[in-house]
């Protein structure tokens, strides 16, 4: 058994108040460590709040900003890995929705959101630059990858993470609920659940979904963070739309068993995918 205890830091960030949110992240990380967690995961834009509009300009931080390095340092001081998200200002002043995986006082990986949605109630494309890389990273005994909220609604993102060899995919999110479904779980919440359990099974990986809670300008974020196992099962989560810290234990050995039983990853023909994509790109989109 290769146990990894994951803490789901389901926070309600204070909009625009980075230092307050850093404090909250450190409090949650401290509690997570007390619960014996190896990693604590926070939602998309947990350090800034979501509906930023022009606040994006004020809350953007470069990776070497003290607000960010204090959390990276905390991963060493508290001896717990941390996944946290904020508005990253790149050296060339691009503004990205980014998520950092910090471990032992260093940055293991930065993922910049590939697909900032700009439709319906979403207007991220007004402020944010698209990320341009999808990659996994090694954490010693396993490999992990990150995708942020809307990234997961593009199957190419988990696909590319999968073929780059991940065992655990972290999905920080700011998923709004639309409560009028008549079901205790909103439609978007049920879709997230179905989608990530399906990915977990198809990509024989653990999926760790951490969604924020709270209201911003009337918009409700539904929480219900959870972990799905490579068998496609829900193996634990918060079942609440309030702030909370939930731990879920995963056994990385399950990845080994599932990949033997269902060798989709082994059989996946990335060369065929590449040839086909290249042909489609060469010929141009005909639709």
């Amino acid at each position: 058994m290769k146990l990894l205890r994951i803490a789901l830091g389901q926070v309600s960030p204070r909009l625009g108040d980075v230092s307050e949110n850093v404090r909250k992240h450190i409090d949650f990380a401290t509690s997570a460590k007390e619960k014996g967690a190896h990693v604590v995961v926070f939602p998309e834009l947990g350090l800034t709040g979501y509906q930023l509009r022009d606040l994006a300009f004020h809350v953007a931080r470069p990776l070497n900003h003290p607000d960010i390095t204090s959390l990276i340092d905390a991963s060493k001081a508290l001896d717990i890995d941390m996944v946290f998200s904020f508005v990253e200002q790149t050296p060339a002043y691009r503004f990205c929705v980014s998520s950092v995986y910090a471990t032992k006082g260093t940055i293991a990986h930065v993922h910049r959101k590939i697909y900032p949605p700009t439709y319906g109630l979403f207007e991220e494309g007004r402020q944010f630059s698209k990320g341009d890389a999808i990659d996994s990273f090694s954490l010693g005994d396993h490999r992990a990858g990150m995708m942020i909220c809307e990234d997961a609604w593009h199957p190419s993102v988990p696909y590319l993470l999968s073929v780059s060899g991940v065992d655990v995919m972290y999905v920080p999110a700011a998923g709004p609920g639309r409560a009028l479904s008549g079901d205790p779980h909103s439609g978007s919440q049920m879709f997230w659940n179905r989608m990530l359990r399906t990915y977990a099974q198809l990509y024989t990986s653990f999926m760790v979904f951490v969604n924020r809670v709270g209201f911003e300008d009337g918009v409700f974020f539904f929480g219900h963070s959870f972990v799905a196992s490579p068998t496609g099962e829900f193996i634990g989560g918060s079942e609440s739309h309030d702030e909370c810290l939930t731990t879920v234990d995963i056994d990385l050995e399950i990845v080994r068993k599932e990949r033997y039983r269902s060798p989709f990853l082994r059989d996946e023909d990335i060369y065929l995918t590449e040839r086909t994509l290249s042909r489609i790109i060469r010929e141009g989109r005909t639709w």
Partner: protein, 279 residues
């Protein structure tokens, strides 16, 4: 039959909305620094629903209702408002608006019901906002989605508020939520009325029923059907067109005033911050 179908869909969709609305009130009010709320209690279903939600969110000690009849207001309205007050154990105050309305119209002569009605709605608004200081309370809105879309309300009158928990619920959904939160039966049963003049009812004044309006609005707005597609369900084209025209013509009531753009950062155009900024 499409009315019955949509009506039942709209009603069943709110089955689990109460905890969300209660939490919405708690968070959106408290983040402004307020612990109390104030609003007008008309005796109608909309303000009654807001009262029940607010008591769930803050407890009756923090909820202030204002009953503001004019001398021609129906006695039943005041009685129904008092039923809500007694049932919830609210602090409520009655302010008779007749003297201030009569004083104004003694100087400014008109018999136009619209002007008199608008004036009453705006006087009530000014009384609510005045009491918001005394009670250190935030003003809650009691306009529903049907009224907001049709523009069936007075701008800067009953449409004015800081936070509105029921603005995304059609009238028929309000009735369902009212049942869920325990609004007294007499309020559920009576015909909706702005009670601005005797024997006024919303449905007579509007010229269509709320069930018709909500079905048509749901198809046009939520399902994004075209006018033709809605008419294909058997609605009279004149009715569908009237409703669509009202939605369009009243867009201004749902927006802040238009500002002439001169600078590079104009409020509402490219000076864009969330409402919750700094709260």
């Amino acid at each position: 039959m499409v009315i019955a179908e949509v009506d039942s869909l709209l009603r069943s969709s709110v089955a689990n909305s109460v905890p969300i609305l209660v939490e919405f009130l708690r968070q959106e009010v408290r983040k402004t620094g307020f612990e109390n709320v104030v609003f007008g209690l008309s005796g109608g279903i909309d303000s009654a629903v807001v009262a029940y939600l607010a008591v769930q969110a803050f407890g009756s000690d923090h909820v202030f209702g204002l009953i503001m009849p004019y001398k021609t207001s129906s006695k039943a309205s005041v009685d129904d408002a008092l039923k809500v007050v007694n049932d919830l154990g609210l602090s409520a105050k009655q302010v008779d608006i007749s003297p201030q309305i009569d004083a104004y119209f003694a100087q400014v002569h008109t018999t136009a019901p619209l002007r008199r009605g608008n004036k009453m709605a705006r006087e009530r608004m000014s009384i609510i906002y005045d009491h918001s200081v005394e009670y250190r309370a935030l003003a809650l809105g009691t306009s529903n989605k049907t009224e907001l879309l049709l523009g069936y309300g007075t701008q800067f009158g009953d449409l004015a508020s800081a936070v509105n928990p029921i603005g995304d619920l059609y009238k028929t959904q309000i009735r369902e939520v009212a049942r869920l939160v325990g609004v007294p039966q007499s309020i559920l049963d009576k015909a909706p009325s702005a009670d601005l003049w005797e024997d006024q009812t919303d449905e007579t004044e509007l010229g269509f029923s709320y069930e018709e309006a909500d079905t048509i609005l749901h198809l046009l707005i939520d399902d994004r059907l075209s006018l033709e597609e809605v008419c294909a369900y058997g609605f009279k084209p004149a009715l569908v067109e009237t409703i669509m025209r009202r939605v369009q013509q009243n867009q201004y009531k749902r927006r802040m005033p238009v500002i002439a753009k001169l600078s590079s950062r104009t409020i509402g155009i490219d000076f864009r911050y969330p409402r919750d900024w700094g709260m």
